[in-house]
């Protein structure tokens, strides 16, 4: 059964009592909330996702709750809770659907240490993945959404999930979260109506979700190997520029942007090294014009693999254990 087969009332009832269990990529998420807008958000952004009605075991348990005390009614707020943790400060109630997204991202990043996780957007085309890794405000989600509209399959706009034994990228297939000016930029290019409503937010200049396509959700059990690793940076007025990056430097940057590289220790090192060994090219990329940027990425597939020294651990001299 998928979400769109459930009536809004049934969703609302389920969310309030017991919770709705949704599969996104490898995770079963049990979402609970007394808020009707969460039911609408699920029906809207998660329409194609499988619902598992009587799932006995869920990986993530997230509750999206109305503010405490007076903040339930006066300038109402919303917050989320993952088991006992409350990861974010309460936000205005109208941002409840965004709170659901942030909460799910937080839960994955903090629990799923059976993957190497990197703060990056991941998209797939032609059987190979593009990893866009950057700090916040670098235009990562904007690029991700623009490429999604061009038919790339979205794995995630926030978290690259890297499987530990074989460094394959695993889809999460969740909606993309757009902020501020990029919402209109993407909406202009959106002829399928994938971009959802904009929720006003003075801090971020508005928030909107881009629904994943039906095919993206259908393919969320199919992982893929890495093709390219790109570190994008949006700079107003800057011409589209790129330069190849040695794999060793790309390694350092990815490790830096990782949620759990250091927690995984040797395994983290080996997994990341194997990932970069499989990469056909690593680039630094600067842009200001979205269409030019998208064109560059479309042509990326035709570029011959860059020559760069392997970073595989097997080619490193054996290191003795520190005493």
């Amino acid at each position: 059964m998928i979400v769109s087969q459930c009536s809004l009332n049934a969703l609302r009832h389920q969310l309030r009592w017991g919770g709705v269990c949704i599969r996104t990529g490898p995770f079963l998420c049990r979402i609970q909330s007394p808020l009707p807008e969460i039911a609408r958000a699920l029906a809207d952004s998660y329409a194609h996702f499988p619902v598992i009605p009587e799932a006995p075991f869920a990986d993530i348990h997230l509750r999206v709750l109305p503010g405490r005390g007076l903040r339930r009614w006066i300038r109402p707020q919303v917050f989320c809770q993952c088991d006992t943790e409350v990861p974010f400060n309460p936000h205005p109630r109208r941002l409840a659907p965004a709170m659901l997204e942030w909460g799910l991202n937080w839960a994955v990043a903090n629990l799923a240490h059976w993957y190497l996780m990197i703060h990056a957007a991941v998209l797939e085309r032609g059987g190979r993945c593009l990893v866009l890794s950057a700090l916040a405000e670098s235009g990562k989600s904007t690029l991700c959404a623009a490429l999604a509209l061009r038919g790339w399959r979205v794995f995630s706009d926030e978290i690259a999930l890297i499987r530990l034994p074989d460094s394959q990228l695993v889809p999460l297939a969740r909606p993309i979260c757009l902020k501020g000016a990029s919402i209109e930029l993407i909406r202009q290019r959106d002829c399928e109506g994938l971009v959802g409503p904009t929720w006003p937010d003075p801090v971020r200049g508005g928030i909107a979700l881009v629904r994943p396509r039906r095919e993206t959700v259908a393919g969320m059990e199919t992982p893929a190997p890495v093709g390219w690793v790109v570190f994008p940076k949006f700079e107003p007025g800057c011409p589209t520029q790129f330069s190849p990056l040695p794999k060793a430097l790309a390694f350092l940057r990815l490790a830096d942007n990782s949620f759990n590289y250091s927690l995984l220790g040797t395994t983290g090192f080996q997994t990341l090294a194997a990932l970069l060994d499989q990469a056909q090219g690593c680039y630094k990329f600067r842009y200001s014009k979205l269409d030019e940027a998208v064109l560059w990425f479309e042509r990326l597939m035709d570029r011959p693999p860059e020559c760069s020294a392997s970073v595989s651990s097997s080619e490193w001299p054996e290191m003795s254990e520190p005493s």
């Binding site: 079963l28 006995p56 075991f57 869920a58 990986d59 348990h61 509750r63 809770q81 088991d83 006992t84 629990l111 799923a112 240490h113 059976w114 250091s262 927690l263 995984l264 220790g265 395994t267």
Partner: protein, 364 residues
């Protein structure tokens, strides 16, 4: 009196009998994984699963246990490194660095360290060396976490430790103790006795407390100093210590005598009584018998028993009851009551409340 809050049963059960983990239904695991995570015991279950063979655990649960084991492993590595760092810095300025709690379990290679998470590092040093120790740590990159002059004075005048230190780059917390309970409190275990009996580790000047003292410290920490939030984890620690040291011939005969020497008879009774409740059969009957003389009088005994049982419940929001919350709050109040006499406690609480109020005003 044998009533255990129902939400707590699966976690206690698998801690008592790891074998039970192989018989649980997936729906039990759904609750258990979260309870264990919030009691900081999921790594422990991960370790138990490794011992049993992970293939006997349902497939969808395994990754969670594996992740918890990895996290525990990382904590252990960090603790080793932290111990190494502290030894480098303090070796030249003090004769004895006694590692306490988590640090001791790791350094002494005790089974208690398996799958355990560590939040900070605790050490005990002779009070005479305290000034040099603090100077050396400050010079080597540790810095005070609480800068408010009131907090500084609170720790220095009344507590059993320096104001907590945090390392500038590693962000690890270090608590430097000169005794194991607040100086303003009701009980005064003599730190000289603890130091005199400490056991050297292979790397001088690192020491750990003697087996009896290690158990007594854990008991004092939980039942006198009142860190009730991690009560179940502390009981698991104590159960491990007892399993590990109970085999030594002098451990049980000495325990009660030592407890009286250190004024820790009452916390020991609490520890043994609640160990017996959580992990029946670990403590020899005659030791339990002899410890009866240390037990609290009638109305306090059943009341504390009830409060601790309720407080030990994992705090998952959907199972949070007002009974559990009230019990935790009362135990928290009790710990403050034991920590300072009323003439110090009242001004302290008033000061704290005023400061919180000021802080909120400023934020607005």
């Amino acid at each position: 009196m044998s009533y255990v809050p129902s939400a707590n049963r699966p976690l206690l059960q698998v801690l008592r009998e790891p074998e039970q983990m192989t018989h649980l239904a997936l729906a039990d695991w759904d609750l258990l994984v979260r309870q264990a995570r919030c009691a900081r015991l999921l790594g422990r279950l991960g370790y138990q699963a490794e011992q049993l063979g992970v293939e006997r655990i349902p497939e969808s649960v395994r990754p969670h246990l594996e992740a918890a084991s990895r996290t525990a492993e990382k904590h252990r590595t960090m603790m080793h490194w932290e111990i190494h760092q502290v030894r480098q810095v303090l070796g030249p300025v003090t004769q004895k660095i006694v590692l306490l709690k988590g640090a001791a379990y790791v350094a002494a290679g005790l089974p208690t360290a398996q799958g355990r998470l560590f939040s900070d590092m605790d050490i005990l040093v002779p009070k005479a060396d305290l000034a040099q120790v603090e100077q050396a740590l400050l010079a080597a990159g540790w810095q005070p976490m609480k800068l408010h002059p009131y907090d500084q004075r609170y720790y220095r005048a009344w507590m059993h430790e320096l104001p907590p230190l945090e390392h500038r780059t590693r962000q690890t917390t270090l608590d430097v103790h000169h005794t194991i309970l607040p100086e303003t409190g009701r009980l005064h275990p003599d730190p000289q006795k603890l130091l005199a009996d400490a056991r050297p580790l292979p790397e001088p000047p690192l020491y750990v407390l003697s087996p009896t003292d290690m158990l007594l410290h854990s008991a004092a920490h939980l039942f006198q100093d009142g860190e009730i939030g991690g009560a179940l984890r502390d009981l698991v620690d104590m159960a491990d210590l007892v399993r590990c040291f109970g085999a030594e011939p002098e451990f049980w005969p000495n325990l009660l005598h030592r407890a009286r020497q250190l004024e820790l008879g009452r916390p020991l009774w609490y520890a043994l009584a609640h160990l017996e409740w959580c992990f029946p059969g670990l403590t020899p009957k005659e030791v339990l018998q002899q410890a009866q003389s240390e037990r609290p009088p009638w109305p306090i005994r059943p009341l504390m028993h009830l409060l601790i049982r309720w407080a030990i419940q994992p705090e998952l929001p959907e199972h949070s009851t007002w009974l559990g919350q009230t019990a935790r709050w009362l135990l928290y109040v009790r710990s403050h009551w034991l920590r300072m006499p009323p003439r110090l406690l009242l001004p302290h609480l008033v000061h704290k409340a005023l400061r919180r109020w000021h802080h909120e005003e400023e934020e607005k």
